[in-house]
Symmetry: C2
Subunit: 268 residues, 2 copies
């Protein structure tokens, strides 16, 4: 059974987000074995013809073009970093609609934070020439972070439809009370548990099983980095997505939004 079958509950959404933490931590650990290699993020360093962006930008664009052709971005939990994608070459599939039509995409912010704040903090080596390997893992990291953060839409939808809060959300949205919506979205207890959990995951998955001092294994990344990333980057952006989604939750969708959101989609 896949995620969108059956009823969507906040609990089901949370389970998906908890599993996604493992993916994000695995990929960041993978990235940390290579140098920062900032040349791959700088424009015009690799001699592409007729392309003036960075190596990573070129690679992500081409990967997204391929992935769109096999319907990745028909799925509401996958959003591209660049426009001008290929149309799917496979027949469309019909799936139940879960989200209110929307065009929310904060991938620009994710890209900037990842390259400027995350990579320099997890990669101790400056440049090791592993440009292709680094870019390959960058894509996995960016996609996992993007999926996590845009899952805020599902979180918001689940909270909005929860009978316990529905009336209050409708009232706050109608009055455009941003701060109060933000407050109602925030569950300090859940956030605190999350930060403790991701640190424990980083400490567990980052163990270097081969190398130990007095039976204490070396760690491949500083484990406190992961809760810091969640606190300063992932959680705030997720909540930005949730807020944006809710602010538009009561709007009548126009046709182009409907089209973009896709009534028809599939799990990627």
């Amino acid at each position: 059974m896949n995620f969108f079958e059956g009823e969507m509950s906040l609990e089901k959404v949370r389970q998906t987000l908890i599993r996604l933490e493992d993916t994000i931590i695995f990929q960041l650990i993978e990235r940390s074995q290579f140098g920062r290699n900032k040349i791959i993020y700088e424009n015009n360093k690799f001699g592409f013809k007729n392309f003036s962006g960075s190596f990573l930008e070129y690679y992500v664009r081409e990967r997204e073009s391929l992935d769109s052709s096999i319907r990745r971005y028909d799925s509401p939990d996958e959003l591209p970093f660049f426009n001008k994608l290929q149309s799917p070459i496979l027949p469309k599939l019909e799936y139940p609609k879960v989200l209110h039509p929307n065009n929310i995409n904060v991938n620009n912010k994710i890209w900037d934070s990842y390259i400027n704040n995350v990579v320099p903090r997890i990669c101790p080596i400056d440049d090791d020439s592993n440009y292709g390997s680094s870019a390959t893992i960058d894509i996995s990291c960016l996609q996992a972070l993007s999926r996590r953060i845009h899952f805020g839409k599902f979180v918001a939808e689940a909270k909005f439809t929860d009978p316990k809060y529905h009336e209050e959300y409708v009232k706050l949205i109608t009055n455009k009370e941003k701060d109060k919506i933000y407050e109602l979205l925030t569950n300090k207890e859940v956030e605190k548990k999350l930060l403790a959990r991701v640190e424990k995951k980083a400490r567990t998955f980052g163990q270097d099983i081969e190398f130990k001092d007095n039976e204490i294994p070396h760690l491949k990344i500083q484990p406190t980095l992961i809760p810091e990333l969640y606190r300063d980057f992932i959680i705030p952006l997720t909540k930005e997505v949730e807020l944006e989604y809710l602010l538009n939750r009561l709007n009548e969708p126009n046709m182009s939004e409907e089209e973009k959101q896709g009534n028809l989609y599939l799990i990627f």
Copy 2:
């Protein structure tokens, strides 16, 4: 500093292989969260026009075509699963030559074993419709396994050039004594330690930090599966690559082999 700089030693090769174990185990754990989804491995199930292979085959071909354009397969430790790749669109770079020119590529065998033996054993669910996600991780798994197994070439080169064994290898290769070469390549002690280590890694990295019974965390994959995969699939294929490499180690390379191996390469 990258792998091919400085002197290549068996110890340096082994460190790379030990780190690659983590990558392989991470990716297999990632794959295990989705269904087996065998439809993606079957021909003609997805309605591609003018293509009669499987969904995964289509996706790997296209990914390899893109990756070859940014020089992935110029690197001697990256081998494609399919032919007919794009020429690099980036200028070639010159790197020191490490391996004896060769065309050894056992990716067909890796593909078959992975799809028919590995996936069914790590994926408890039959079909969950996550075809794109499954295929995306399949590519990461296949590439990590391929890199690991073809690293046998570097293992063999390091063993061949080790002064302690060099003369003996030359003699055995000259006399084409396959069984004795295989025996000399085998280090039972190292293999035993490896099997214990990868089980420990699977047990550590596969922990489901959130869910516990009596403080014992659930495991995302059966940890004994990983040493079994190494014993029955990864180690034998690596040694097949080592043996093949050594049997041709004293041949004069002809020009086309030289060309294919590429005196000019870069780390991907």
